[in-house]
Every structure is written in structure tokens, then in C-alpha cells.
């Protein structure tokens, strides 16, 4: 009887691995101090402001938004390349916000990053073999069969010829370089990969190759992804859950269906309608946002989107909306959320 109960409990945990989040981010904030002029008054750029989200094992979360919305800063804080100003990052139940030294090195085996620019993120003076082997060496890992064998396996996993072991980055095209970056990120068998615009520097046909590769790796290895991108169509294709950011804040978080078919936040709607859609010829039905994104040094009061929002009322400039569940099932930070499907 107890056996049965035990096995039932264990199957319950294996079939619903979503119970315990792999990564949990609470109140994450990053301010960069700036100074205008030599003796100018110091001020702060509020790059990321009170961001909360979770990533479950095997889940792909997309972070989308326009330039300057804080998505890259958020990603860099997750891999601990930037020190958060405040807030808490929990990975597998452990607070990693201020982890240092050996413990941080250990942690980085589990959380890896893929960078946007395949030209700047590989050392031009190192061979591909050395680049991909670096994470193993830094962590003093001696894989069975030797480092070289493991590197060649990795190259094969990402669709490169293992014989390219001794070549230099300049001998590869952009798409191949991005594959090298992916192989390096996979070297330590991470649980979570933060991919910061991994395909936006690539040509369309190459972009599809890399997206397919990432999807296949995600399925085969059960990896979790935080996928940072500005291309909403790529994010829809890759991510099950999407978080939309604006001016350092999260404005809406929901599933693919909620965000793309029935978005609640006016900004999400505007962003979606602005994407040129190949399936619709001639631009129509666009929501036109006036003006530019305000400066993160001096963000607007209340809801930061109110200066460009067509629904803004007095309340919006006075009171900052909280992220709360809304009608479509997502959570959104808006006083007057939208409802109804997008056409």
C-alpha cells in the first residue's frame, strides 16, 4: 500500500515537473549610475525595474521588447555577468543573487549563455577546438574519452563537421559561428540557457537553420531556455511562454496563445500589430504608436506606457498598475486591459 502510494507520488512528480521552478526571479532591479558632463549631477538609468518571473524545467520563456527595454540586462543578470541592484534570483531552490568564487563557477556549469554577435563572441586567435573546450578546462572537467572527443561530439551535435576542430573562427560563416557558440554553451551540459538574440544577426535562411537546431536541442536534451529577442515571430515559434517588457518593466506574461491571439496589454497589441506580416499584403490595421520610448533616466509617472497609450486616462499617469491576472488568463500590468482576439 505504501509502495503504491510512493510510486504514485513519484510518477506525479515526474509527470508534472512543472511543480518546482528551475529559476525564480523576484523583484529584480538594475540601475546604472550615469553622470552628464564632467561635473554634472549624477542620475540613474533604471534599466530593469522590479521584474518577476519563473522558468520551469524544460520550459522556454521568451523575453521580448524593443531596444532599451531591459531584456538583455535581465539576461546578463541571470548568468551573473551583471550584479543586480536589488531583487533575488533563485536557481533550483538556492539563492544565487550574490554567489561568488568557486560556487559561482559551479553555478555557471548549469546556466550558460549564447550571445547575439557570432563575430564578437569568439576569440579570433583560438581554434574552434580550444573555444569549445574552454568551459571544460576552466572547470577542470575531464570527460570520459578525453576533451577532444567530447568537443568533436559537441560539434557534431550542433551540425558542424568534427574535422573542423583545428580551424579558426574566421573560416566560418555567421551561421556556423553561431553553432560554435551553441556548442560551447552545451559543453558543460547546462540546465538553463540564456540565448540573447541568437539569430538576429543571421540571414533569413540561416536563421531558420539555427532556430531548428535550438528547437531540436531543447527537445532532445530537455533544456530550459530564456530566449531574448525582438523578433516576435521567432519568439512565437520557439517559446511556450512569453514575457513582454517595456522600459525596464514587465507589462504582460502569458502563454503563446494568450500573448499572440488575445493579448491584454495595449503595448503587446501595438507591438504585434507593428510586425510586418507576410501573410497580409499591404499594411493595414496597424496600431500606430506616437513618439519614441521615453528615457529610462526619467521614466513617466504611474504606468510607464501612458505617454504613448491610446487608452490612457488620469489614473494611468498617477498610479502604477500591478501585474495581475486578467481576462485572457495571462498576467498584465494595465488599468484598462484589452480583451478580444486580434484580427
Amino acid at each position: 500500500m505504501t509502495d503504491l502510494a510512493d510510486s504514485a507520488a513519484s510518477t506525479a512528480t515526474t509527470t508534472t515537473p512543472g511543480r518546482e521552478p528551475l529559476l525564480k526571479v523576484e523583484g529584480l532591479t538594475k540601475h546604472f549610475p550615469v553622470r552628464s558632463g564632467l561635473w554634472g549631477k549624477g542620475s540613474v538609468v533604471r534599466a530593469v525595474e522590479n521584474v518577476n518571473f519563473e522558468v520551469k524545467p524544460g520550459e522556454t520563456l521568451g523575453l521580448v521588447g524593443e531596444s532599451g527595454c531591459g531584456k538583455t540586462t535581465t539576461g546578463r543578470m541571470l548568468v551573473r555577468l551583471l550584479e543586480p541592484t536589488s531583487g533575488k534570483i533563485t536557481f533550483e531552490g538556492e539563492d544565487i543573487t550574490h554567489t561568488k568564487g568557486n560556487r559561482l563557477r559551479k553555478l555557471r556549469q548549469d546556466i550558460q549563455i549564447i550571445f547575439q554577435d557570432p563575430y564578437a563572441s569568439l576569440n579570433p586567435r583560438h581554434t574552434v577546438g580550444r573555444i569549445v573546450a574552454m568551459p571544460l578546462q576552466v572547470n577542470g572537467i575531464d570527460p570520459p574519452g578525453g576533451v577532444k572527443k567530447r568537443v568533436q561530439e559537441l560539434l557534431e551535435t550542433v551540425g558542424l563537421n568534427p574535422e573542423h576542430y583545428n580551424r579558426y573562427p574566421h573560416e566560418f560563416s555567421g551561421g556556423q559561428r553561431q553553432r560554435i557558440g551553441i556548442a560551447r554553451a552545451l559543453a558543460l551540459k547546462p540546465k538553463l540557457i540564456v540565448a540573447d538574440e541568437p539569430v538576429s544577426a543571421l540571414d533569413v535562411s540561416i536563421q531558420a537553420q539555427v532556430v531548428n537546431l535550438l528547437r531540436q536541442l531543447q527537445r532532445d536534451l530537455g533544456l530550459s531556455f530564456v530566449f531574448i529577442a525582438h523578433d516576435l515571430a521567432v519568439v512565437r515559434h520557439f517559446c511556450e511562454r512569453i514575457a513582454v517588457m517595456y522600459l525596464g518593466r514587465m507589462v504582460e506574461v502569458g502563454t503563446r496563445e494568450q500573448i499572440y491571439e488575445n493579448p491584454a496589454h495595449p503595448y503587446t497589441r501595438a507591438l504585434l500589430s507593428a510586425v510586418p506580416d507576410v501573410t497580409k499584403l499591404g499594411g493595414h490595421g496597424r496600431i500606430k504608436l506616437e513618439g519614441d520610448v521615453p528615457s529610462p533616466i526619467d521614466p513617466p509617472s504611474g504606468c510607464v506606457f501612458h505617454t504613448r497609450c491610446w487608452k490612457a486616462q488620469e489614473k494611468c499617469s498617477a498610479e502604477a498598475p500591478a501585474l495581475v491576472p486578467v481576462q485572457n488568463g495571462s498576467i498584465a500590468a494595465c488599468h484598462f486591459p484589452e480583451s478580444g482576439e486580434v484580427v
Binding site: 524593443e66 531596444s67 560563416s173 551561421g175 556556423q176 540571414d203 533569413v204 535562411s205 540561416i206 536563421q207 531558420a208 537553420q209 532556430v211 531548428n212 528547437r215 525582438h230 516576435l232 515571430a233 521567432v234 512565437r236 515559434h237 503563446r256 499572440y260 501595438a270 507591438l271 504585434l272 500589430s273 507593428a274 510586425v275 510586418p276 506580416d277 507576410v278 501573410t279 497580409k280 499584403l281 499591404g282 499594411g283 496597424r286 500606430k288 504608436l289 519614441d292
Partner: protein, 357 residues
């Protein structure tokens, strides 16, 4: 010889403002002859927009640079004909081209930060572009014209903005200033080379809308060069798809997007994820990489990446396909496969993936 000199079959509209016939642009280099553009024919009427689509190295930017006469004649071999408002600029003297450039033909570049001079005020740069073609205009007239143009492209407080430097402008505002500079002499032909690639989607939507409004107002011809099929489908009337320096498909935007005929165009459409439809369907990418322009594959340049290259015996590997009518009037494709085969393959392999679905 029989394979390399094949004038494209696409007809040139005799009433079009810009007519390009069998344009070839070649750069002799130490490594060999780069055939950047290898026989392109197209035309654009005033008030119409032509989208030129292709990946890096397909020859789309080189084509546009040659329309502006921007290639160094000492290092470039240009043959064919580029007729702008009835004047052929191939072989024209630099002084004569200068009179056209900026006045009849203007260009908007991808990166407004490197295209604007950081040291001069935005208004002064636009005024200079005006003065070059209106030598009799006074400084004051030119300055007024610059402010006027900044207002026309939707920059708030143009009087104040004209006195600022480019670094004080945001990305979208800079691109507007570039457009103002390009339009200051009312050019009949505007070439936009990836004008929105560096911009965010909401700003991109603003700029595309602005270009449409201005086209209606000035009745100018626009060539929109881009790798983004979404942008093309929003603004273009006609589309030219280029690969390895050659046109592979031409037609109206509807023909290219809804009834594409060339396997390369299929590849592009099946590579782009869609905002609708089933997200779990994998994309169908084009295998391999774009070819080197020094050493193009023999036969159809696309054959190493084409899934159907074996369909026609050896022809794909030995014979360069010419642009031929693809069924509907105005629709041309350079492919050896028969119309029926293409219809069948498209329905079987492509129609479910990416934005083709």
C-alpha cells in the same frame, strides 16, 4: 560562353522612370573577378515601389549603388544600361552623374548614424543637400527649406531640432532626418537600402507609413532593398528576388508572396516563422550557405542548395536558367523545372511551413 551571357527575359516597361537592362557589375580583385551583379533587368514607374529581396551577397545593394553611380569607375566594370528619366548613366561622366544624384535619385541608407555627419547640425546638413542643386538659393532659403522638410517627415519642433546634432536624435528620428535629406530636392526616384533594419518594429511601422505618405505626395518611384519579406509584403507593388547576383524571380507582390515559383523564394518563405498558424511545425530552412560571387556554382547558381536540383537530369548543373514567364502575365522565374512540377512540389513540401502556410 553560352551559359554566362543570357539577357534576362523580363520585359522593360518603356514608360517607366527607371529602366535597367542587363546590368552587370564586376569587381576585379586579387582573388579573381567578383560578379556582384550578373545580368539584371527591371523597371520602376513613378508612384510605384519595387522591392528587391535577397540575402547578403545577392547583389541587391550593389545594384542600387550602381543606379546612383557610386562605384569607382577605376575599379569597377559596369555594362548594360541604367536609364533614369531617359538618360543612360552607364559610362556617364562623374560631373553629369553628380547633377542627377540627390536631385533625380536619392538614397536612404541603413545606418543613419554613419550616414549623417556627427560634426554638423542636422538642419545644416539638409540645407547643404539643397544648396548643391539650387546654387542660387540663399542660405536663409536653404535653412527654411530644411526646417520645412523636417516638419514634413514628422519631426516635432522642427525649428529646434534643425539646430541639434545627430547624436541628440533617437534612431527613428535620425532615420526621419535622413529621409528629409533625401527628399529635399523632390527626387523622382528614391532608393531605400534596408531603411528600417536597424529600427524597432513600432518605429519601423512609423517609417514605412511615412514613406508611403511621402510617395503619395511626391509621386516618386521607390526601390526598397531588404532581406525582410514582411517589409516587402507591406510596401512593394512589384518584387525582384535576387540570388548570387542574378534575378531568380520577378512579379507582383501578390504573385511572389502567394504563388511563388522559384525554390529559393520557397526557401525564404518557409524559413520565416509566422505570427499565425501552428507554431509546432518546424521551419524548412535552405541548406548550406550563400555562394561565393567569385566562384559561382556552374549551371543554376542555386543548385547546391536546391532540394530539387536533380529533377532535370543534368541541366541544373550545366545550364544557367533564364527568366521565363511563369504562368501569369508579369510573373517570371529562372528555373528549369516545369510549371506543373513546381505546382506539385510547392503544394507537397512548402505550403505548410513558415509564412508560406
Amino acid at each position: 560562353m553560352t551559359t554566362s551571357t543570357s539577357p534576362a527575359a523580363a520585359a522593360v516597361d518603356p514608360e517607366a522612370y527607371l529602366q535597367v537592362r542587363d546590368l552587370k557589375v564586376q569587381f576585379p580583385t586579387e582573388d579573381g573577378l567578383v560578379r556582384a551583379v550578373d545580368g539584371v533587368t527591371f523597371s520602376v514607374r513613378r508612384g510605384q515601389t519595387l522591392g528587391i529581396v535577397g540575402e547578403s551577397g545577392s547583389g541587391k545593394s550593389v545594384t542600387s549603388m550602381s543606379i546612383l553611380g557610386l562605384h569607382n569607375p577605376a575599379r569597377t566594370k559596369i555594362t548594360g544600361e541604367i536609364s533614369i528619366g531617359g538618360k543612360n548613366i552607364v559610362g556617364m561622366k562623374e560631373e553629369q552623374i553628380q547633377r542627377l544624384r540627390g536631385k533625380d535619385v536619392a538614397m536612404i541608407f541603413q545606418d543613419p548614424l554613419s550616414a549623417l555627419h556627427p560634426y554638423y547640425k542636422v538642419g545644416a546638413q539638409i540645407a547643404e543637400a539643397y544648396k548643391v542643386h539650387h546654387p542660387s538659393a540663399s542660405k536663409k532659403e536653404a535653412a527654411t527649406r530644411a526646417v520645412d522638410m523636417l516638419g514634413r517627415v514628422g519631426i516635432p519642433q522642427p525649428q529646434r531640432r534643425a539646430n541639434q546634432y545627430p547624436h541628440e536624435f533617437s534612431g527613428g528620428m535620425r532615420q526621419r532626418a535622413m529621409i528629409a535629406m533625401a527628399l529635399v530636392n523632390d527626387p523622382a526616384l528614391l532608393i531605400a537600402d534596408e531603411p528600417t533594419t536597424a529600427l524597432d518594429v513600432t518605429v519601423q511601422a512609423q517609417i514605412l507609413e511615412l514613406l508611403e505618405d511621402l510617395q503619395r505626395e511626391f509621386h516618386s518611384a521607390i526601390i526598397m532593398i531588404t532581406h525582410d519579406l514582411g517589409v516587402v509584403s507591406q510596401v512593394a507593388d512589384d518584387v525582384l528576388v535576387m540570388y548570387g547576383g542574378r534575378p531568380v524571380e520577378t512579379g507582383t507582390v501578390e504573385q511572389i508572396m502567394k504563388r511563388p515559383q522559384h525554390p529559393y523564394t520557397w526557401g525564404l518563405l518557409a524559413s520565416v516563422p509566422s505570427l499565425h498558424g501552428d507554431a509546432s511545425v518546424d521551419l524548412v530552412p535552405i541548406k548550406g550557405n550563400p555562394p561565393s560571387l567569385i566562384n559561382l556554382p556552374t549551371g543554376c547558381a542555386f543548385n547546391p542548395r536546391c532540394r530539387y536540383a536533380g529533377q532535370n537530369g543534368n541541366r541544373s548543373f550545366s545550364e544557367v536558367p533564364e527568366l521565363r514567364p511563369a504562368g501569369e502575365p508579369g510573373h517570371n522565374v529562372a528555373c528549369h523545372m516545369s510549371f506543373e512540377t513546381r505546382q506539385r512540389l510547392y503544394a507537397e513540401d512548402i505550403a505548410h511551413a513558415g509564412v508560406a502556410q
